[in-house]
Subunit: 220 residues, 2 copies
DNA sequence: CACTTTTTTGCGTGACCCGCAAGTTTTTCG
DNA sequence: CGAAAAACTTGCGGGTCACGCAAAAAAGTG
């Protein structure tokens, strides 16, 4: 018996995770190359070598399977946030933790982006993408609460929710406008942290968008 | 001929709107009293006195029909926001416009809240509720852009998105904790407007937001 | 009153979700 | 080790659902 790995997880658990991962991956791959409506659950199941019925033991819809990659990101986000140094300001911790998760995105491969864009039309419509983000949101809120000592649960949820908003907005901007994801995301998170002064200070006939003006304003 | 109403809308249009409204209303009513899984599209259609097939001419799913009330709120929100006085700070305008929309909610009728809560389990799961909120978000972003002169579209989307976040969080808190909606919502919007200092600066209200640190990084 | 445009409706098809009851694999335990 | 127990897979079947299509009905137009 080679001492290669001490699998703390029962064999069963490993197989389950592997099956789930394979199904999600197959679902995403097929969807990206054919479009969602041209992929039946049977195709996905066959691809993995499993019964169509089994697919529904893991996911209750193909949309859910495709979006599960988004959900799985919560693991990394949780760990990243909790790993930030103790004394660091909360917004900075959150920002770094979030940015870290999205640093592995490859450069904007044209074809890939195009497929994602087309895909999003469907996914947004079916709501599963948003649903997945909501799942991440809950974990993020919980993690933030743990980070600050769990004082105000409501505010933690608000922060998590608005952070996810920033992520979604940056993401959409990425695949529609083609602009790089991370700088946008960082900017949006900074705006969130300061109450969006760039906008709110702009109610008056703003001649030029010099960002230094509205920073110290007594908003609202 | 009684001079009661000058219907600028063609008769066809009125019937369409009425049919849509009736279908949505029936869908919501039946769902609240039976639970979503015990309502077939046929039931909704029959309730309104229309063919099941016709239902799908208006909504592509019963979930969509149930959630259409959320979507329809965008109309009022748009008008309310645009009706705010010119010089008013943006955050104040948005806050008032949003609060106005949710001022018509009755008091927390126990039975009603219970049904809503149970309903939300399903709706969140199917994502249509979030989908509806996303639709509102787009209109809100557009309206905000119009309000500030359409300078930074990205930031407008961020603001709209995070405002909707606050609404959702307050709403969930309302039907899970039973706390009143409006005060919570107002507080959350205020927190948003100031960067959530209660959480982030539990120590100090963030005296210096020097965003100069990591802004120039060449990520991605 | 014809004629056009829009909406409704019935029908048929393909897919999907899930409960149920075997069959199969992994785990536990004597 | 070997058998019972627990967990997972699979085939089957039923109830729904979304939607294309084309005919019928209704609303608008001159």
């Amino acid at each position: 018996m080679p001492p290669d790995e001490p699998p703390k997880l029962t064999l069963r658990e490993r197989k389950k995770r592997e099956a789930r991962r394979a199904l999600a991956q197959a679902a995403l791959r097929l969807t990206l190359e054919r479009g969602l409506e041209n992929v039946r659950v049977e195709d996905i199941a066959t691809e993995v070598g499993v019964s169509p019925r089994t697919f529904n033991n893991y996911f209750s819809s193909k949309e859910q399977a495709v979006c599960s990659v988004v959900v799985d990101r919560h693991e990394g986000m949780r760990e990243a946030l909790l790993a930030r140094p103790e004394g660091e300001p909360l917004w900075e911790s959150v920002k770094q933790a979030v940015l870290e998760q999205y640093s592995r995105e490859g450069e904007p491969d044209r074809a890939y982006v195009a497929r994602i864009r087309e895909l999003m039309g469907r996914l947004m419509l079916r709501g599963e993408f948003l649903n997945a983000h909501a799942a991440v949101e809950r974990v993020l809120a919980e993690t933030i609460a743990k980070r600050v000592g769990g004082v105000d649960h409501l505010l933690c949820r608000l922060m998590a929710s608005s952070v996810e908003s920033a992520v979604r907005v940056a993401f959409v901007n990425w695949f529609t406008e083609g602009e790089p994801l991370l700088p946008t995301l960082e900017r949006l998170l900074d705006e969130l942290a300061t109450g969006m002064p760039t906008l709110t200070g702009g109610t008056a006939p703003k001649p030029e968008p010099n960002a230094t003006t509205a920073l110290g304003e007594p908003l609202c």
